[in-house]
Symmetry: C2
Subunit: 236 residues, 2 copies
């Protein structure tokens, strides 16, 4: 199944890397069948009508119904100080299926290096590639939020959680607290965790504390496992 | 909590990288408290009695009881063609907690590059570092098995699974099939999956087919998520 991305799928043209991949890597020809998604839940079956490295044209044959998740999954994360760990997180959450990946400016992140460790174009490319590789039709919306307080205040999900464990207080695991079918947001602290003020603010705004297991997880591992736990909670 | 590794913890000496880390990176001194694990489930509280870059000596003050998992978790995987994806898999499964990581020679792996993509010393270092980072006291046993058939025949776990989905037959998710508290083994295919003969063999030997979710996961993602699902199955 050759899956391509065209944000305006009705335009019936592939450009840039998508066109090159079609013409030069896969060496498809006129008449070959492809699948095209707009990354927003739509999938089309199409036939190639022109194959050039710079521009590929296709004719939509059929719109394919893809069952959408009933719940939206949003992950909000204090980025790590290593670009590759942030990128890995985006790849893996996209593979699992996620609607929004929101990076947050928190007290304990390294503000000066944020441009180096979060490159928006690279993250978009990684998410696009992971979406296609895992044969999905929803590309997560990736964003960066500079005002933690404003961000939290704007979260309207029914299921709002913060991964937060103390030596004396271990809340129930996320997988047991997620309500099936409800839009879910999970906050994951950066290396060095949220500050006490940030945790207090989240709790005061209705975020429920959750644990993510018995071992201490790195930020990027915590984010991916939390996303996985939200998926598994729908099954059990 | 400064956690160090000494496979014979009763020897009361740190060597090599562990000694250097203690003396040069953390700059600990005589009388400072450290924790030492043998990577086989034992944890000791100790006091430093000599701190040199080449050799650190300590006195064990106390043996700490660490509750062991009641079930052993073994993951058996057809390695990917990229060293960093195999290494990432080892890091993440170790963070979650795993007893054995077994790489398998299967039909569809790239046999010639196996030494390049699975470097035993690097994998050991990564597992050790992930064990300490996640504050655990069990380092997984990592091995490579050249005879797939012999390997499968030797698997005596009660819970033996193979991640295997066809277009027409989607078995129940692993998280719903794992029996709590039982030793569990999950087989994960390489890029290009197991061959039909390999799948048939596993099924004939009592491995139960499981799915790992609705999206198509890369080998390394499948392995880590399967390991996570076995953990979560203990909670629900």
């Amino acid at each position: 199944m050759h899956l391509f991305y065209q944000p305006s799928a009705s335009q019936q043209t592939l450009e840039g890397e998508e066109a090159r991949h079609c013409a030069k890597v896969l060496r498809l020809g006129v008449g070959d069948l492809i699948w095209v998604t707009d990354g927003k839940g739509k999938l089309f079956k199409a036939s190639l009508t022109q194959v050039k490295e710079k521009e590929v044209k296709y004719l939509i044959l059929e719109s394919i119904e893809v069952p959408a998740r009933s719940n939206r999954i949003s992950m909000a994360i204090g980025p790590t100080r290593k670009a590759e760990r942030n990128e890995w997180m985006v790849e893996k959450m996209t593979e699992l299926g996620v609607d929004e990946i929101q990076f947050l400016f928190t007290e304990h992140i390294h503000h000066e290096s944020i441009r180096r460790v979060l490159n928006p174009e690279r993250l978009e490319r990684i998410a696009l590639s992971a979406m296609k590789q895992s044969q999905q039709v929803v590309k997560p919306f990736i964003s960066l939020h500079r005002d933690f307080k404003e961000f939290l205040a704007g979260c309207k999900q029914n299921n709002k959680f913060i991964a937060y464990v103390t030596d004396t207080d271990v809340p129930e695991h996320l997988v047991k607290q997620v309500q099936k079918g409800e839009d879910t947001l999970v906050l994951i602290g950066p290396e060095g965790d949220f500050s006490p003020q940030e945790i207090e603010l989240a709790l005061s705004l209705g975020f429920k504390p959750v644990s993510l297991g018995t071992t201490r997880l790195r930020t990027e591992t915590a984010a991916v496992m939390a996303c996985h736990a939200v998926h598994l909670a729908q099954l059990i």
